[in-house]
Amino acid sequence: MDETTVSSGARAATTHSGPLQGVVLMAPQWKYVRVHPLIVRITHWINALAILLMVASGWRIYNADPFLGFRFPDAWTLGGWLAGALQWHFAAMWLLALNGFVYVAYGIVSGHLWRKLTPLNPLAVVRDIGHAVRGRLAHDDLTMYNAAQRAAYFGVIVLLVLLILSGLVLWKPVQFHAIGMLMGDYEGARYVHFFSMAAVVLFVIVHVLMVALVPRTFPSMFTGRIRTRAS
């Protein structure tokens, strides 16, 4: 399903406004390559919505007992008051968990996860993060994730699993006591839940920033195809 397939050939020459108006340019050769299978695109956007709802309602719940000494501005939160925020949180959790299950199950069965996220070489990850912050990360082949992307996408899956597990402990500290003992019981789970949320939010910020820097990756999350230079 997500094999790389070339779907379109070269593109016509373009004229350009601005300083180059009227100049006929050498036409770059473009080809379209399928990068995101349909299931991945659908689950991606459902996941984006679920995370938005979970984070915004979660901040309101945190505000009811701000144990880290600060509050989120009410305007950034969802639910209006604690009961409303809890209603949102415990409704959207189904969206997050079921959608996440479909994505991970598909990813494992189809081999998509393995193909996209391996190899995970720590040295390559450090090297590519270094390249990225210096703005020198190569984006010529957008069909392949670089090591920093593989680490980030793998990491955010792990974080979401951690959020769900710590969330289960906070929701049902007695029934899921065994999981709770892995993270310092109820009070420990509050910290695990908060800091995994913070890490996911950081991921989202960097993720959106990266899309802004390489915008042609954005429509591909809808169409599944990406325009890349034919060599």
């Binding site: 770059p28 945190y62 604690l82 809890l86 007695v174 802004a212 915008p215």
Partner: protein
């Protein structure tokens, strides 16, 4: 030779131009999407249909929590050294407004699907077999505190009044006009205790004199204080916070 270099640099330039254009377009689109969400955000969440979905989901979560509930799963108990001191006061009113209940005239009313509808005096209740627990009280707000409570197992009390334990709910009415209700499986849980003592003294006024139903398998607000009457029923009795939108089951 020279020509080729020229063409390449133009090509590079146009690519950069396009990239920057794309970037600006993306930002613009992103900003309008954000603005739209902000503008419509408040209206969307207050809509009746949205509220209906949220309430339906909450009732669904009641059912799921009933399925997850294991009647044999015990809440962790702690050594007395872990007791939180001072234990936080928490109610929908200030500590000075906590109800004053006169112990001499007090009688616990028992009604509904029970065989023996007699009212219980405090000495009668104190004479029942007593158990103690040091457990964690978890508030719906997120904080938790460990306390020690003693009293009669609620399952034992329900047995003595001949309650129909196949009924669905036990409801409570309190001296501060608080009211709440619980599911029967939780009422019969071994750690669900009708408590008269807090620590090593009679349950003080601020913590629910003359009695509090202690359930370490439920959030704090589900543990009624100052109980004046209880009843067994199949008709959903709701609760003070539950009727305002807090999840009814709220089990731990």
């Amino acid at each position: 030779m020279k020509r080729k270099t020229m063409a390449t640099s133009l090509d590079d330039f146009s690519r950069r131009e396009i990239a920057s254009l794309e970037r600006r377009l993306f930002m613009k689109r992103g900003l309008s999407l954000g603005a739209l969400t902000l503008l419509s955000g408040c209206d969307v969440t207050n809509q009746e249909s949205v509220q209906k979905v949220l309430w339906t989901m909450s009732r669904w979560n009641d059912r799921v929590q009933g399925w997850i509930f294991d009647p044999n799963q015990l809440a962790p108990e702690f050594p007395e050294s872990r007791i939180t001191r001072p234990f936080p006061f928490n109610a929908f009113y200030g500590i000075n407004e906590a109800p004053v209940v006169d112990p001499t005239n007090y009688k616990l009313e028992v009604s509904g699907l029970v065989q023996e509808k007699k009212a219980w005096t405090l000495p009668e209740l104190y004479a029942l077999p007593q158990v103690s627990q040091v457990t964690r009280h978890i508030c719906v707000e997120g904080w938790s505190a460990i306390g020690k409570w003693s009293g009669v197992r609620f399952s034992e009390f329900l047995r003595r009044v001949g309650a129909d334990t196949t009924a669905r709910y036990v409801g409570f009415k309190c001296a501060d006009d608080y009211y709440t209700s619980i599911d029967m499986p939780t009422a019969l849980h071994p750690q669900t205790v009708l408590t008269f003592r807090f620590g090593d003294r009679i349950l003080p006024r601020e913590y629910g004199f003359p009695m509090k139903l202690r359930m370490p398998t439920k959030l704090g607000f589900k543990n009624p204080k100052h109980i004046m009457a209880l009843f067994v029923t199949n008709d959903y009795p709701g609760g003070y916070w539950e009727d305002q939108g807090y999840n009814w089951y709220s089990g731990s």
